[in-house]
Amino acid sequence: MLALQILIDGFAISALYALGATGFTLIFGVSGVLNLSHGAIMVLAAVAAWAAASVLHLNTYAGALIGVATALIAAFATYFAVVQPIQRSTRIPNEEKEIFVLTGTLLWGIMIQELIAYFFTNNAKTVLPIIEGVVNILGVRTPQNEIFTAVVCCLVIALLWLLVNRTRTGKAVLAASMNPRGVTLLGLELTNIYIVVWAIYGILAGIAGVLLGMFLGVSSYSVGPLTASAFSIVVLGGLGSVSGSLIAAFVVGYLETLTAYLVSPAYRTIPALLLLVIVMYIRPQGLLGRR
C-alpha cells in the first residue's frame, strides 16, 4: 500500500521534474547557455495561468494556454534582451561571456520574481486543475490531476524526442549541439536554430510551470528552489545530455518521495543533494555526460 503510494506519487513528481529539466539541458546542449532565470519563467507561467482564470475569469484551458504562451514570450525575452546582447557584445571578452550570461539570467530571474511578488503578492497561487476528482488505484486514492500531469509530461517528452530525431529542424538542432561550426558551414543560420531551441524551451518550461501550479502550487519563493532543482538534475544527469536529465529526474524524484514518506517530509531534498555531491566526486561529468 505504502509502496504503491510512493510509486504513484514519485512518478508524477519525477515526470514533472523531467519536463522542467529537459528544456534547461537542451539550451545548454545547443547554445552553451545556463539559464538561471528558469525557475522564474516556470513560476511566471503558473501565475499567468492563475491570473487568467481568477482575475480575467477565463476557463481552465484558456488559462493554461495563456500560461504557456507567457512562458514562450518570457523565453524569447530572455534570449533577445539578455543572452543575445551578451553573446554578440564585442566589449565582453569571449572567455567571460559564460559568466556574464549566468549573471545576466540570474538577475533577470530575480527581476521577474520581484515583479510577480509586487503585483500578485508572494503568497502561493494554484492553478485550477483541468481534471478534478480522484480515482482509486488498488486502494491508493489518487487525484486524477496527478495522473493527468504524468501523462502530459510523458507525452510532451515523447513529442520532443520525435521532433529532435525525426524532423529536419530537429536534426539541425541536434547537429548544432554536436558541432556548431559544421552547421554554419552547411549553410544553416545558427541564430535561427537558437530561436527554435528557445521556443521549444519556452513551451516546455511553460507546460511544466502550469502543471506544477495545478499539482502543488507555486509562489515567487519557488523561483530559487525550482532553478536549483533543475540545475542539480541536469548536473547529475550530465550537462547537455537530455537522456541523462530524464534518468536523473526520476532518481531525484523517487529519492525525495522515499525520504518524505519513510523518513520525514522535512528532510525531503537532503538525500538527493548528498547524491549530487557524491556523483560530483566520483563522476564529475554526471551520469551520461560527455564532457
Binding site: 503510494q5 506519487d9 481568477s54 503568497n123 494554484t126 502550487g217 518521495t257 522535512a266
Partner: protein, 445 residues
C-alpha cells in the same frame, strides 16, 4: 554647535597651511578654495537645518508620525499598512489628535528580519517616527524588540503570536517596556481554538480524536504546547503531532501520515503556508476536516488564491467580514473593502485598532515622549474592532500582552463557505452552521 563647527574649520585650515609648507603646487591652489567653500556650505546648511528644527518645534500642528514596517507582499501582512492608513485618515478627518495630524510612514520588510531592523533604524533616526507598528511574523518582532529598547520607541506588533514577546517584556521590564503585543499570544490562540473546538466538534459532532499539524516556526512552539495541553481537556485525544518545514510544497506524505492515524479532525497551526496545503487537501480529497489557526485564510483573497479549495476550512480569527464583534468591526471591514477592494486579514483589524489606541495614548499622555506614551499605553482601555483592548501589567508573566477572556477578546471561529468567510462561533456572532465539502467525512471514528 556652531562654535564647534567653526573650530573644525579653523583646525582644518591649519592643517592645510602645514601641508602647504611641505609641498607647494598648483593643484593646491584650486583645492583650498574648494574645501573652504564646501565647509562654508556645510555650515550654512547646518544653520538652516537648526533653524528649521527650531521653528518646527514652535508649531503645535507638527504631525504625529507612526512607522509601519510590514510584509507588504504577503496576504496576511499586506493589510497592515493599508489598515493603518485608513485609521489615520479617519482620525485626521476628525481633526487629528489635539490638532496634530497622524502621518503613516510605511516600509516593506520583504518578510525579512534584517530588512525590518534597517527599516526600524531609518524610521526612528531619519524619519523621526514617534511609534512603530510592525509585522505579523514572530521572528521579525523578536528581532525588533531590542531595537525598540535601544532607540526608545514604542513598538506594537499587530500579528505576531509568540509567547516570547510578552515573556521578554516581563523578564526585563525596564529595558523591554517599549514593546507591546497587540495580538493574542500563541497560548491564548490555543485556548481560543480549544474553546471553539469543544462547542463545535466535541459537543455538536461528538468527535474524539485529533492530529496536530503545524509549521515549524517560533510562534507554533508555544501554540503546540497549548494544543497538547487543552485538547485532551476538552475531550479530543491527540493521536499524532506533525511539524513540517514552512517551505514544504508537497503535502501528500503529510496528509497520508495523518490519514493513517485515523483522527476525527486535523488541528492546524499554519501561517507561512496556507494555500498549498489547502489546495492539496481538496485535490487529494482528504476526508478529515481542518480546524485551527490558518493566518492566510483570514484574508479574503485566500478564496481566489486557492480557487475556492478553501471551502470547509475552519480558522480562528479575531474578527471577520460581517461579524459585529464590536460596533466598530463591520464599519471598518466595509470601509477597508471599499478602499482596497478586499476584506482585511486578521492583522488589518489589529493594525487599525493600534493606530487608534496609539493616538489615544498620545492624547492622554499629552506628549509624544516615549516613556510617557508607554505609561499611557499600559493604561489602554479601548474598544477596537476585535474586542476590548487592555494589556497585562508588569506583574503578569505576559506583560504587555492582550488580555484574553469574556468581555475582552475571545476570538472567533470562521469557516469558508461557498467562497465566503462565515462566522460559526461563538453563538452570539455566528452567521451560519458548519458546512463541509462532500469529500469530508464529519464523523467520530
Amino acid at each position: 554647535m556652531q562654535f564647534r563647527l567653526l573650530n573644525v574649520r579653523e583646525s582644518s585650515l591649519k592643517v592645510e597651511k602645514k601641508f602647504k609648507k611641505v609641498e607647494r603646487n598648483d593643484m593646491e591652489k584650486t583645492f583650498r578654495p574648494r574645501a573652504f567653500w564646501t565647509l562654508r556650505g556645510l555650515l550654512g546648511a547646518t544653520a538652516l537645518g537648526l533653524l528649521a528644527t527650531a521653528s518646527g518645534q514652535a508649531f503645535a500642528a507638527d504631525p504625529i508620525k507612526i512607522g509601519v514596517i510590514a510584509e507588504a507582499q504577503a496576504i496576511a501582512g499586506a493589510s497592515i499598512p493599508q489598515a493603518a492608513q485608513l485609521a489615520a485618515e479617519e482620525i485626521n478627518a476628525k481633526g487629528g489628535v489635539d490638532g496634530r495630524m497622524i502621518e503613516i510612514v510605511t516600509y516593506d520588510n520583504h518578510s525579512s528580519s534584517a530588512d525590518s531592523v534597517r527599516a526600524f533604524q531609518r524610521a526612528v533616526n531619519e524619519d523621526k517616527v514617534h511609534a512603530v507598528i510592525s509585522s505579523y511574523i514572530s521572528e521579525v518582532v523578536l528581532a525588533l524588540m531590542p531595537w525598540a529598547s535601544r532607540l526608545k520607541t514604542p513598538f506594537i506588533t499587530p500579528g505576531a503570536a509568540s509567547n516570547e514577546i510578552p515573556l521578554g517584556v516581563h523578564k526585563d521590564y525596564e529595558k523591554n517596556k517599549y514593546t507591546f503585543h497587540g495580538y493574542l499570544t500563541s497560548a491564548s490562540l490555543a485556548m481560543s481554538v480549544c474553546d471553539a473546538a469543544k462547542d463545535l466538534l466535541v459537543d455538536q459532532k461528538h468527535m474524539k480524536t485529533a492530529v496536530i499539524m503545524s509549521e515549524d516556526a517560533a510562534w507554533t512552539k508555544p501554540l503546540d504546547i497549548g494544543y497538547e495541553e487543552c485538547l485532551p481537556k476538552i475531550g479530543l485525544k491527540v493521536l499524532d503531532h506533525i511539524r513540517f518545514s514552512p517551505d514544504t510544497t508537497d503535502f501528500t506524505p503529510i496528509f497520508n501520515k495523518i490519514e493513517g492515524a485515523k483522527p476525527d479532525v486535523i488541528i492546524t497551526g499554519i501561517s507561512h503556508v496556507g494555500v498549498q496545503p489547502t489546495v492539496q487537501w481538496k485535490n487529494q480529497q482528504v476526508p478529515i476536516p481542518m480546524l485551527g489557526i490558518s493566518s492566510q485564510a483570514t484574508n479574503e483573497t485566500f478564496g481566489k488564491d486557492t480557487n475556492n479549495a478553501s471551502d470547509g476550512v475552519l480558522y480562528q480569527g479575531v474578527s471577520g467580514p460581517g461579524v459585529a464583534v464590536t460596533p466598530k468591526s463591520i464599519p471598518f471591514a466595509e470601509g477597508f473593502k471599499k478602499k482596497y477592494g478586499n476584506y482585511p486579514s486578521y492583522a488589518g483589524y489589529t493594525s487599525y485598532d493600534e493606530v487608534y489606541y496609539i493616538a489615544d495614548a498620545i492624547k492622554r499622555a499629552g506628549s509624544t515622549d516615549a516613556d510617557k506614551v508607554v505609561d499611557a499605553l499600559e493604561k489602554t482601555d479601548w474598544e477596537g474592532t476585535i474586542g476590548r483592548i487592555q494589556f497585562y501589567g508588569k506583574d503578569d508573566q505576559f506583560t504587555h500582552g492582550l488580555k484574553y477572556g469574556k468581555g475582552l477578546i475571545t476570538g472567533l471561529m470562521l469557516q469558508w463557505q461557498d467562497g465566503k468567510q462565515t462566522s460559526v462561533w461563538p453563538k452570539e456572532v455566528a452567521k451560519g452552521q458548519l458546512k463541509f465539502p462532500s469529500f469530508v467525512k464529519v464523523t467520530a471514528n
